[in-house]
Point group: C2
Chain length 148, copies 2
DNA sequence: CTGAGTGCAAACTTTTTGCAGCATG
DNA sequence: CATGCTGCAAAAAGTTTGCACTCAG
């Protein structure tokens, strides 16, 4: 899809930082990125886009519903394309591998629980933490995630 | 339960900061607290417990499985007593009201999904966001949560 | 008594903001 | 060419750490 157009359709000027950042997400190389990771990727080739701009652009893209912000366990926010559905995550606590999934039964049951408690459900965030096959089979996988 | 004993059973000396902090949680007045809230509550009566100590104690209590750390939408970590089960949350995005629940069907289904994707599930974090009855009925409820 | 624990202040990390200049539409 | 956007640097906000002193066991 034409990125400048997509931006303009959302009421944003198609400036270089915005185009480059959105491109990073659409390239699909890295589906989940923190502001910092975006900044580093941008600067793999010379660029003078500032970190503050990265934060501003990410926020605008979230407001424009182009991206979604996730706040897994750590205090760093992580962004990804808003692909409707697919907002649930399964994180390997050994290697950090991240799987996405969308399960209708789960979504359904959540609706039900919320209704039972008198809430109108608007959003949800479900993250499962465990060990992926690869790490489970290895003897002592080095924990890259957090010390907690 | 005897708080000093509970601490010693976990291998922690029963020091004043630890006792007072754990007391705050067991009093049940505030089930969910950030480090900052704990610090403020402690200082409602004169006290020289430092914020750094609050953070250290909270971390130790989490390590000791007495507390659980939650990272809802915002970047602030929120702590609560580890009551086994009951780890899911329903947050009203208008007034901030927080309901806890535990739904076997959901837990079960999560296990299943994880297994299907080849993961050994260890933990999960589910947060539902919506509008509670009270806020839904009011005209324009003031959003106290965050602007995102 | 003695090491674990503490208070304070300073460092760190992540994110936000103020402002003067730049570039898009 | 006007305003929205940007880069930089500085400030916030949340959390962690270094160090000398204190207190629980």
């Amino acid at each position: 899809m034409d990125i400048p157009k997509e931006l303009r359709d959302s009421g944003l000027k198609a400036t270089l930082p915005r185009v480059r950042i959105l491109q990073l997400f659409q390239d699909g190389q890295h589906k989940h990125m923190s502001a910092d990771e975006v900044y580093l990727l941008l600067h793999r080739e010379p660029s003078d886009i500032g970190l503050a701009t990265v934060y501003r652009v990410l926020m605008q893209l979230v407001d424009a519903r182009i991206l979604v912000r996730n706040q897994f366990e750590s205090p760093v926010a992580v962004f990804e394309l808003n692909q409707g559905g697919l907002h649930d995550h399964l994180v390997c606590t050994s290697c950090g591998q991240l799987e996405e999934f969308c399960d209708d039964a789960l979504e359904h049951r959540q609706e039900e629980v919320a209704r039972k408690l008198g809430f109108a459900l608007r959003e949800h965030s479900l993250s499962l933490y465990g060990t992926c096959v690869r790490c489970a089979s290895e003897a002592g996988p080095s924990p890259k995630i957090r010390r907690s």
